[in-house]
Symmetry: C2
Subunit: 332 residues, 2 copies
DNA sequence: ATTGTTTATGAAATCGATATCATAAATTAT
DNA sequence: ATAATTTATGATATCGATTTCATAAACAAT
């Protein structure tokens, strides 16, 4: 690999001049410009990002933290972020946490070490104080994971209201025993809690009660959904819910699969509300009633915000596109 | 941020000794060991990855190239790779190419620049010679994208045979006018070509013909699938295929959606063969007949191979798990 | 007692870039 | 004509680690 030294030698100039050329400084004669350019081409030179970063502390890499890339909500979100970042000259580094604090910590370390210059967190495990500690090393943007009591820049949607409306829809449809799934554990401050609030508000407003047997934590995947369904089926008849609000379409699909296998009709036996409106959700044997998230906009806005933070500009978040929408189909 | 210098000063030792401590060199007295450890803790010191990399040329970052992360096949593959890499102390950098040569080139540049120490390519756009050029900068492993005429380390599955068997299954079921979708463009050397070979072999063996109206290139997504379906429906009746081999379950779903909307029964009007056996494929209104890929094993094997290459060890690929399997359901 | 190893440490060069300081020539201002 | 600026370039210190070389005890061998 050719280095800046080689280029300098080859062009019979100092490294300083070559460095100036690289950074578009003024005061380089047209003639030397050409000599440098030629030397670079002849030597097939590319500046070392590592060395540049060590010296200048400026980077072009943005980290993204998601809990699971296999969840289409996140893969589409990542997709959106990546497109937006790439078109602005930034590169993306993705890491999954699998709800693991240590993984999240590792990513924050990468920020501290300037491997990444900024971090977009689309999932969160640690408390806000810990995250605050890392803000001095580079901008952190929260994407769709509200952290109350914190002034970390965030792109938010109103998960509370959307959940409220969705559960209200269930209630209006006549369901009274509504179960609830969350990806979190109910204690954490992740966005689960906003949904939980909306859920509870709807129940309270309608004067309905919930039972602890109807609450399922840490459910993420199709398989988790299957487990939930099995548990429901094992409940005594009078304790069985007649509807369930799930944390994602993945979970909803798993529940429906098991119910169908046991000849329990959805939504007659159990109404199932999804979340995310994934591409396949309309194509299932029982098309999902679900809540669509503005994935595209979430990605664009959080990336724009991140870039403006990195470049010291200001950015006004366009909240108008960050709207959740209830999509009524057949599962509830 | 504390540096190695600060630690040295704080422990009243030289940077060299601290560096030795960091790298587990022998010949450091127990007493200084403790002093260094204490100093590090007090200063909350973390070695700079960037600086370490600049000096030692060794890194812990592995790049992954996929064409689209939103395709579940790739997101599950990435998931598998990430798990395996993480458990060995490596970090993953993911980039999407969207079939774009330039994106691929950018990732190869990251290898040249030692931002990543190795690259796992799960999709490929460039020709083998170009890729060869970058091998001097770090190991490159091809994952499920056969490049013939190349000795780049690769993890392969027999896409040709699997396709052959799947198409044979269609033929045995009585279909004679079989259409074909590919993610590539038929000219490239990607894994599309292996499938194409298998497809053609099955047709030739059965003495069937294909028509250029039945060949669809560059189809990847659900939307691409819808387009294909529309095109088929616009064909004159006698030119319409009675079965279609698709490049992914995503495409298959899109086709089925449009067919269903036009009251054309699948598989009676058109049998649809998927590819990938995605988690939702069994849950669709018409469960997909498809080919399961050993995603998990592909990830594990390619990562193990990469790590052994990175660490100068040898690794024997366990081919026994890299088996494709035809899964018969209802769509064909 | 003298030489040869082993153990333990520090000084300084190095990796490949950037940034500061110094300097010299060319240009403009007084 | 001299001073002040602008333009153009090079030397060199620096970023934060690793690594080589040198050195000095401590211990063993002759």
């Amino acid at each position: 690999m050719a280095t800046i030294k080689d280029v300098a030698k080859h062009a019979d100039l100092s490294v300083a001049t070559v460095s100036r050329y690289l950074n578009n400084h003024p005061y380089i004669s047209e003639e030397k410009r050409k000599r440098i350019k030629n030397a670079m081409e002849e030597l097939d030179y590319t500046p070392s990002l590592v060395a540049t970063q060590l010296r200048s502390k400026k980077g072009t890499m943005i980290g993204i933290l998601v809990s699971r890339i296999t969840n289409p909500f996140f893969s589409y979100l990542v997709d959106s972020i990546e497109k937006q970042a790439k078109s602005n000259g930034y590169t993306i580094l993705i890491m999954q946490t699998y709800d693991d604090q240590d993984a999240e910590a590792k990513m924050l370390e990468l920020l501290k070490q300037q491997v990444i210059s900024g971090l977009i967190m689309c999932s969160i495990e640690t408390d806000s104080q810990t995250i605050e500690l890392y803000r001095e090393y580079g901008p952190i943007v929260l994407c769709n994971v509200p952290l109350p009591d914190s002034d970390i820049p965030q792109i938010v949607t109103d998960q509370e209201q959307a959940t409220y409306e969705a559960v209200n829809y269930l209630i209006d449809s006549g369901y009274k025993k509504i179960a609830y799934c969350t990806g979190g554990n109910l204690t954490a401050s992740g966005h689960g809690s906003a949904r939980t609030k909306g859920f509870e508000r709807a129940l309270v407003t309608a004067n309905l009660i919930t039972k602890k047997e109807w609450v399922f934590k840490q459910v993420h995947s199709i398989d988790d959904g299957k487990l939930v369904a099995e548990k429901i089926l094992q409940l005594p008849k009078d304790l069985q819910p007649d509807a369930i609000f799930t944390s994602s379409d993945l979970v909803a699909s798993g529940i429906i699969e098991v119910m169908t296998k046991h000849q329990k009709k959805v939504p007659d036996f159990l109404a199932v509300m999804g979340f995310d409106n994934q591409p396949f959700s309309s194509l299932l044997s029982i098309p999902l009633t679900t809540i669509a998230q503005p994935v595209e906009a979430l990605g664009v806005e959080s990336t724009n915000l991140m870039i403006s933070l990195l470049e010291g500009k200001s950015y006004h978040v366009d909240q108008s596109k960050l709207i959740l929408q209830l999509i009524k189909r057949e599962s509830a």
